[in-house]
């Protein structure tokens, strides 16, 4: 076995994370604002009230700026797959091909075609056709997100494929298993509803800025009403789909689930840590173990969250590492041994194929198929502790996401009450709160992805391929250079967006 440079993995991961996080600054606003604008335009077409047209055009301008700056930032992720994660790209090629091709075609035809009608078509096409175009842009953006999220979900729950040892590629056996896996469904619904929540918060925050400047009350009231209703429904759906998502994760990624809560020892009727501060446990036999400096718990809630049963067992990190015969959980040593067998069987298959030894080939294939489920564990014989994700980051990002999610529900209810009771202008502190909610919405959204992606470490493909097997053996310095390059490019884009957007906000809706 060759010596491996772990700093290469860390820098490659950091580079991918940086690109994905910057990309995700632009995406959620596009997903949600598209629908908010479509709803506003629908009201214009239905009522004929020109004030709705003015409102629609203002938010459409901000949608356009965000869309234009964000467009193609995701393409860099595909570059990185081919350069930095070549083993992974090869391993999954067939699975990703179909969803990404559909994404490309849909994105091009729906978004690229109809967005032109959205912006150039006022007074040139009929009102109804313009409205249809606006809806199609919003729907197109969300369908694009579906395919990307399906691809991501497959990495977290690889189903519907068969590994071909002759080519070292996974081949899709059932498209519907990939598309409709519980992970894909929960991930898509949870992600898009959280994006709608973010968009609603951005609309309310910007609208309240006008109130701080004592401008555009009628515009603000209508915008806040639409955004608050949309946001409240979206945030409630985010909570419901989050619960669904938690159950899927508890079943298929139990280590990630245990990391959400820093749960070291499994429990029946496990409590949920609503708020906690972690500290190192100083246990040399389990360096990944964390204790709590303080915590507030909700009895049995973790069991309910995991299994919908208050008295069910939730495995902890210790169970998953050391095994728990009573709960039918294999120790990682056993999984590592099986993974080693699978890796050796792959090598044996290749050798037998080259030697034209069909009997040895069939035997190796049989061994590989029997142990393929644990293939990725075979890389961890000397690095067993790496099978536990970073508990601190996963725990805090999960709690920030959930805490802010529930706070947003309360905020939307407050805004609706203020609009309903005609007291929107009465409490100035609410305007500031709405403004603060804009960065908080982005923090919650990013924290969600950090939870999902840090929590599944060390896996690129759950149980099958860890980051250390997925990465291309490049010069680490080259990865550092591109990391810095991306940081500069994306920061420039972000500044450009903020500058153009702030200018348009200051101008306000045109009369």
């Amino acid at each position: 076995m060759t010596q491996f440079d772990f700093s290469l993995i860390d820098w490659s991961r950091a580079q991918f994370a940086l690109t994905a996080m910057y990309h995700w600054i632009f995406v959620p606003l596009t997903l949600g604002l598209g629908f908010i604008v479509a709803i506003m335009e629908s009201l214009y077409v239905r009522t004929g009230n020109p004030e709705w047209k003015r409102i629609t055009k203002f938010w459409m301008t901000l949608f356009g700026i965000n869309f234009a700056i964000g467009v193609a930032t995701g393409i860099i992720l595909e570059f990185e797959f081919g350069t930095n994660w070549s083993n992974y790209s090869w391993f999954v090629g067939d699975i990703f091909g179909a969803p990404l091709a559909i994404e490309g075609i849909l994105a091009f035809f729906l978004e690229a075609t109809f967005i032109a009608v959205m912006f150039f078509g006022w007074n040139k096409v009929s009102k109804k056709f313009h409205l249809l175009s606006t809806w199609l842009v919003a729907i197109g953006a969300n369908i694009s997100a579906l395919w990307i999220l399906v691809a991501n979900a497959w990495m977290q729950l690889p189903e519907g494929m068969k590994f071909n040892p002759a080519t070292a590629r996974n081949e899709m056996q059932n498209f519907w298993d990939v598309l409709l896996s519980p992970m894909a469904v929960s991930k898509f619904l949870h992600t898009i509803t959280s994006a709608y929540t973010l968009s609603a918060l951005v609309v309310i925050g910007i609208a309240c800025w006008f109130l701080l400047k004592k401008r555009e009350y009628a515009f603000v009231k209508k915008s806040v009403l639409i955004a608050a209703v949309f946001g409240l429904l979206a945030s409630i759906m985010t909570a419901i789909t989050g619960d669904f998502s938690a159950k899927v994760i508890a079943e298929h990624q139990p280590m990630k689930f245990a990391s959400f809560e820093g749960l070291y020892e499994g429990k029946t009727g496990a409590p949920l840590v609503a708020f906690g501060i972690l500290k190192d446990a100083k246990d040399t036999t389990a360096p990944y173990k964390k204790d709590f400096a303080m915590k507030i718990q909700l009895p049995k809630m973790l069991s309910i969250l995991a299994n919908g049963d208050a008295n069910s067992y939730v495995p902890g990190i210790k169970d998953l590492m050391e095994g728990n015969a009573e709960q039918n959980i294999l120790p990682v040593d056993e999984k590592i041994a099986r993974g080693k067998i699978a890796i050796e069987a792959l090598a044996a298959y290749k050798n037998a194929q080259q030697a034209n030894d069909t009997i040895a080939q069939a035997k190796a294939k049989e061994q590989l198929d029997a142990n393929f489920k644990y293939f990725g564990y075979g890389y961890f014989q000397q690095h067993k502790n790496l099978l536990v994700p970073n508990i601190g980051i996963t725990f805090y990002s999960f709690h920030i996401m959930v805490g802010l999610g529930f706070y947003f529900i309360a905020f939307f209810i407050l805004m609706l009450l203020l609009v309903y009771k005609e007291k929107l202008l009465k409490y100035r502190w609410v305007f500031y709160l709405a403004l603060v909610n804009i960065p908080l919405a982005y923090i919650a959204s990013q924290a969600g992805w950090v939870t999902a992606e840090m929590g599944r470490q060390p896996w690129v493909i759950q149980d099958l391929m860890p980051t250390l097997a997925a990465v291309s053996r490049l010069d680490t310095n080259a990865v550092i250079v591109t990391f810095i390059l991306f940081a500069l490019i994306f920061t420039t884009l972000l500044i450009a967006e903020l500058k153009i957007m702030c200018k348009q906000i200051k101008i306000g809706p045109k009369h």
Binding site: M1, T2, Q3, F4, T61, G64, I65, A68, I69, V71, A72, I75, I76, F79, E80, G82, T83, N84, S86, N87, S89, W90, F91, A116, F119, F120, G121, K124, P165, A166, T167, A168, R169, I343, E344, L346, A347, K350, Y379, Q382, H383, L468, A469, S472, R473, L474, A478, V481, T482, L485, I489, L493, A496, I500, K503, Q504
Partner: protein, 73 residues
């Protein structure tokens, strides 16, 4: 009739770009510069496809990946 449709579509885009607001023009400049940086610089000089650049055939690529997968620590 067909020509007329194409002309109308061309005219739609042409007029749209011609009468575009200044913020729209700024965005298009940003988009074009961004795409140039991504495809003409980053893709070409910093992000060549590792397997396509270093190996000629699919067979060579799969052999390389299998070798990588079976010799990683």
């Amino acid at each position: 009739m067909q020509k007329n449709i194409f002309f109308r579509i061309f005219n739609f885009y042409f007029t749209g770009f011609k009468t575009m607001a200044s913020w729209g023009k700024s965005l298009w400049i940003i988009i074009l510069v961004k795409l140039f940086i991504m495809f003409a610089i980053l893709k070409v000089f910093f992000f060549p496809n590792y397997l396509k650049t270093n190996f000629k055939t699919e067979k060579e690529r799969s052999n390389h990946v299998i070798e990588q997968l079976t010799t990683k620590p």
